[in-house]
Amino acid sequence: MSTESGHRLEPHTADTRVRAWAPTREQCIAEAVAALVESFAQLRPGGEPGEPAEFDVLPGPPDELLIAVLDEIIYLIDTTGKVPSSAQVMADDGGLRVLLELAGRDRIEVIGPVPKAVTLHGLEFSGDERGWSCRVILDV
């Protein structure tokens, strides 16, 4: 566990595995979102600010909250062609409220295959007052 926040991509034979860590559950989910985006896109600096978007996640165990957020992000990317340039995740009555800024194609350089789904294989998400970490495999 860590008092710092971060994320990285880890090797997996066929797909993309992301690892994220942060002091809180919500920050850790936001780091996982950032890792998902970095796995396939680079945001060009400058340009217009992103378009705001938000969604809520119903209460559930931590792994279901993580999956629900990543599922929604993948859905947004696939149906809008836009990519979150920032993600803020807040606890909200047992569930989550997620605030996004979505960057359009003019600010995105696609550098790799786009994630299409979140798998349950080897899913890890746990933590306590000392910090949270997760590991999740994304299908590309």
């Binding site: 396939f40 062609g81 790799g112 295959p113 789904a117 349950l120 294989h121 299908d139």
Partner: protein
């Protein structure tokens, strides 16, 4: 490392076949079709553990099989085959089909065009294909559907509906698995999010390992069968590899999530949540099979539209027509009848990164292929050979064989080993024109990230899974 030093102990049964004895909660043994050299690298690739996990599925019969291109997936290994006995509580597992439902391969052959005649016009052809084949994020698709009601027609009618709308010729359907449309699709089992993802992607490659490749027939192993398939030496072909896009991924996601929550009701316990499953003969099982069929039809229409776009480019640039050799999926679960312990059983055969390979004489083959067997299309890694195979009698894995070269390196490792631009130069130095999607996407598909497809196909043949008909070599690649 030899077979018996692995974390999962293997017993060598022949030069092309290894056995994992039943242990723990395995209901059947594991059988791995491979040579010693092709076996997954212990430590780096956990696919043999996944073969063991699949062997615990309720109702599984025969064995949990791994094809020679097996590699680490999620839940099922990629290159895995598992059949469950439908009338004995056998399950269907969406993870045993994969997210990209009915991902598959379509091969078109150009009439009267060989590599010598193409060479001068290759660059112009590739530029036109680059423009005509949508791929990558938010790049649209060949077919602009009128709305959700037309998507319903695609989900019900697959490639047949596409042909009825003028996107191809009736002869195409005789060369598609299931005549281009899988029966039993139910739009009502396809969720709203899947529909939204599917509306704008009919006729698009996607990304990852998907591609369109211009190829030349390099070698014919059986001229009688090749002739029946419509292939001749030196002939130019186009191989298209893609699937059901966002719609298929969303259907798999939705049904895995639902089954993950309801398995307790059926007292099913599994070592991996991505293997989530329910009995085929249950409301949830029926719902998944109906949604999976809808996604399969979407995939077949998708490949039909990409074929149409390809044909238009070949007609414009070269003035040649193209006929369909075959269209086959390698991510599917199908209800099939096979003999088990001497009696015919109704089985749900999962092929995840594995291809059905019907032998000569099979009743499901069209008349013009019945004497020679079903074409099996095996894409190699980018820049290496691909194969056309045919099914053989007495296949030991429920009429299944391999589906490709099989990864040995992670995308991460592959992208670190070479830059996309450098790889493009290497391929072009070998005479292969490349039109990429993204530099890293290209690098992730470097040939060294894969097993040697020649060795994979030789092992599949040695294991009695199929027989070689033709070898194809790349001339130009449009990368997803």
């Amino acid at each position: 490392m030899t077979a018996d030093q692995r974390a999962v102990p293997l017993v060598r049964e022949s030069p092309y076949r290894f056995r994992i004895e039943r242990h723990g909660k395995m209901r059947v043994p594991g059988v791995v079709f491979a040579t010693e050299a092709l076996l997954p690298r212990a430590g780096e690739d956990r696919s043999l553990e996944q073969v063991v996990n699949v062997a615990t599925l309720p109702g599984i019969v025969g064995a949990s099989y791994a094809m020679p291109d097996v590699h680490w997936g999620y839940g099922f290994p990629i290159g895995g085959v598992a059949a469950t006995d439908v009338d004995a509580g056998g399950v269907v597992s969406p993870g045993g089909v994969g997210f990209d439902i009915s991902c598959g391969v379509r091969l078109l052959a150009a009439d009267g065009l060989d590599v010598a005649r193409l060479r001068d016009k290759l660059s112009a052809l590739m530029d036109r294909l680059d423009l005509a084949i949508p791929r990558g994020m938010g790049q649209g698709a060949v077919w602009r559907l009128s709305g959700p009601s037309e998507l319903d027609e695609v989900l019900a009618g697959g490639a047949r509906y596409a042909v009825e709308q003028g996107h191809g010729v009736p002869a195409d359907l005789r060369r598609c698995e299931d005549g281009g449309v899988l029966a039993g699709a139910d739009r009502g089992q396809v969720g709203r999010r899947a529909v939204q993802r599917g509306l704008t992607q009919v006729g698009s490659l996607g990304s990852g390992n998907h591609f369109l490749e211009v190829q030349a027939v390099d070698r014919i192993y059986d001229s009688v069968v090749a002739d029946a398939f419509g292939l001749s030496p030196g002939q130019i072909c186009v191989m298209i590899h893609c699937g059901s896009r966002g719609l298929g991924h969303q259907i798999c996601t939705d049904h895995v999530r639902a089954m993950d929550k309801s398995m307790m009701r059926y007292r099913i316990e599994l070592p991996d949540r991505q293997l989530a499953c329910v009995p085929v003969e249950s409301d949830q099982g029926h719902a998944y099979m109906a949604a999976m069929a809808a996604a399969a039809n979407y995939a077949r229409a998708n490949r039909q539209l990409l074929a149409e776009a390809t044909r238009r480019v070949f007609a414009d640039v070269l003035g040649v027509q193209m006929h369909l050799v075959y269209d086959i999926s390698h991510n599917m679960a199908k209800l099939e009848t096979h003999e088990v312990d001497g009696s015919p059983r109704r089985l749900c055969v999962h092929r995840k990164g594995a291809t059905r390979a019907l032998p000569p004489g099979h009743a499901d083959l069209p008349d013009d292929l019945r004497a020679v067997g079903q074409p099996v299309l095996i894409p190699g890694s980018m820049g290496t050979a691909s194969y056309v195979l045919t099914g053989v009698p007495a296949n030991p894995a429920f009429d299944s064989t391999c589906h490709g070269a099989g990864r040995v390196q992670s995308r991460h490792q592959a992208a670190k080993s070479v830059h996309g631009k450098e790889l493009q130069h290497q391929l072009e130095a070998e005479g292969i024109a490349v039109r990429g999607g993204s530099w890293r996407g290209l690098a992730e598909e470097t040939p060294q990230a894969y097993k040697d497809v020649d060795a994979v196909v030789a092992a599949a043949e040695g294991g009695g899974l199929c027989r070689r008909v033709a070898r194809l070599v790349p001339v130009g690649v449009v990368k997803g």
